[in-house]
Amino acid sequence: MNKISEAFENKKAFIPFITGGDPSLDVTKKLLLAMQEAGADLIEVGIPFSDPIAEGPVIQEADERALRAGFTTDKLFDAILEVRGEIHIPMVFMTYANPIYVYGKEAFMKRCVECEMAGLIVPDLPYEEKDELLDTCRKYGIELVSLIAPTSEDRIQMIAREAEGFLYCVSSLGVTGVRSEIRTNIREMVDRVREVTDIPCAVGFGISTPKQAREMANVSDGAIVGSAIVKIIAEHGEDCVPYVAEYVRQMKDALR
């Protein structure tokens, strides 16, 4: 299994996000391979949820498309297993607490291990509630990624001290989605983290251009891009793979 930390070894990590099953699991498999080939250091795979309250319209619609097309969590596990042998970079799941809880925490983690997933990002599981999953994650060696937000302030160090894998720095208020400008002082956020831990910090929410990615990575350890990629997928549907690959290549180049 590839650990999350590998993604940050001697480099700025580029972390693309795709919604599993959008527009089909077949395309998801191709995208995983193509994004690895194009230079992705870590891939975040979203497990669609009917009510993703942290997402903006782009990812909401991707979740809806996937679910309408008959997505289930089991089908995603199966699809990942099919290509897992060809993937040599770490991967994490991004999903909400409910799909994990209802699948059964143990059963879910077992399948994560089978798929050699390195970690889990759960946006509606804040520090106060992380015990809900932490023991099960530890038991199966899955790292539970914590998030900090522009509003976290006095909470940053409390969260950072116990963070695993990498720390997901939410760049902007509100929900996921492309933003023309990122106003949060990321450097200050990362500095506060650095006072208590050396864990890698990657910045997400709002990043879409190579320039933004470079700026964010300059003050952190990597950039996470979701909505901009999901938009390309929405635009090109089944034919999206080369377009996404090209985009990932440009973004990764900006971080070299």
């Binding site: 089991d74 799909p99 599981l125 804040p126």
Partner: protein, 394 residues
């Protein structure tokens, strides 16, 4: 002990971005609920603006017709704005004001909570924006215009099933983008801590009044109290005071839509399972992968796939009982109460009336049932007419 737990239910399952906002709300609430000035100001509003205490009315014709237990109606429909929602909203908007907020946002299903929030915002000079599912803005068009008259901006929500749950999603998203000047005024005993507690505290006046008024009239406790349950705020407000009185049956009526054996219902306790959604661990209508199910009820206010965590606890403990009531039973009760007592109840409240109609004849004449009429039915007249095949336009 984790914060905001009701047995194993409740909690704060929300994005990190919102955590300091709910912590700020919790701190403010803990401070002001003990502040004599705040308490007095709120009581003054409840009395002189909302019209509390609401009447406890003995429904003699209904009692006689059903031939069993004596039935009293707790008339929350007589409150200003026509529903129990005003109790909570006056509290929360006043709290927002004390917190220095200048803007309130809220979700609404039937529109009653939206109207109440818009009303309190007008009264206290706050900006107000309401999120309402597109399906609900269509079936409750009058309430949309009412909110606009009160100065609120209404956003029709077109994501997901375009009903109450999607309105909650959208209000949460909006709040995560703007917290410094804005408070989310949540309308039911649901969501992340501290909302289930705050809303219950602001609604518990219903049960407290019932107890006092019934003591005055009958010198004793009721044998059963009945209320409808969507998220569960009027039911929790009705039940809370009676929880320690074990001899009082607490009965919540869920929307069974076309029936709990069909896919068209919103009966969370009857058909739901444990999950984590909208900030809380509770019971939800969902599939085996944890995808939240589209729910259905003729009543926009009960058309919600979850239930407040304190209700989930009361159900698990067996302290309260939850029964499904179909559209057909609710519409029959809507018409029944209109004709028997000259009271047109909200179609939500008609679910509680419907169960009282079943229960009363099985009880003795010296027993007492109190039914909370959570709102008035003016808003539902057109929908009921359509249900009966009469096309009228609002």
């Amino acid at each position: 002990m984790k914060k905001g737990r009701f047995g194993q239910y409740g909690g704060q399952f929300i994005p990190e971005t919102l955590m300091n906002a709910v912590n700020e709300l919790e701190e403010a609430y803990e401070k002001y609920k003990k502040d004599p000035d705040f308490v007095q100001e709120l009581n003054d509003l409840l009395k002189n603006y909302a019209g509390r205490p609401s009447l406890l009315y003995e429904a003699k014709r209904m009692t006689e017709d059903l031939g069993g237990a004596k039935i009293y109606l707790k008339r929350e429909d007589l409150n200003h704005t026509g529903a129990h929602k005003i109790n909570n909203v006056l509290g929360q908007v006043l709290l927002a004001k004390k917190m220095g907020k200048t803007r309130v946002i809220a979700e609404t299903g039937a529109g009653q909570h939206g109207v109440a929030t818009a009303t309190a915002a007008a009264l206290m000079d706050m900006e107000c924006e309401i999120y309402m599912g597109k399906e609900d803005t269509d079936r409750q068009a009058l309430n949309v215009y009412r909110m606009e008259l009160l100065g609120a901006k209404v956003h029709p929500v077109t994501t997901g099933t375009m009903t109450l749950k999607d309105a909650v999603n959208e209000t949460m998203r909006e709040w995560a983008g703007r917290m410094d000047d804005t408070l989310y005024v949540l309308g039911s005993v649901m969501g992340p801590h501290p909302f289930p507690t705050i809303v219950r505290d602001f609604q518990k006046v219903i049960g407290e009044e019932i107890k006092e008024q019934l003591m005055e009239k009958e010198g004793r406790l009721p044998d059963a109290v009945i209320a409808c349950v969507g998220g569960g705020s009027n039911a929790m407000g009705t039940f809370y005071e009676f929880i320690p009185d074990k001899q009082v049956r607490l009965i919540g009526c869920e929307a069974a839509g076309l029936g709990v054996d069909t896919e068209k219902h919103a009966a969370t306790i009857a058909r739901g399972s444990e999950g984590i959604f909208h900030g809380m661990k509770s019971l939800f209508c969902q599939n085996e992968y944890g995808q939240i199910a589209p729910v259905y009820s003729i009543s926009a206010g009960l058309d919600y796939p979850g239930i407040g965590p304190e209700h989930a606890m009361l159900a698990a403990e067996g302290r309260a009982q939850y029964v499904p009531v179909t559209d057909e039973e609710a519409v029959n009760a809507f018409e029944y109460l209109s004709r028997k007592e000259g009271i047109i109840p909200a179609v939500e409240s008609a679910h509680a009336i419907a169960y009282a109609m079943k229960l009363a004849p099985t009880m003795r004449k010296d027993q007492i049932i109190v039914v909370t009429v959570s709102g008035r039915g003016d808003k539902d007249v057109a929908a009921i007419a359509r249900y009966r095949g009469v096309e009228i336009y609002e």
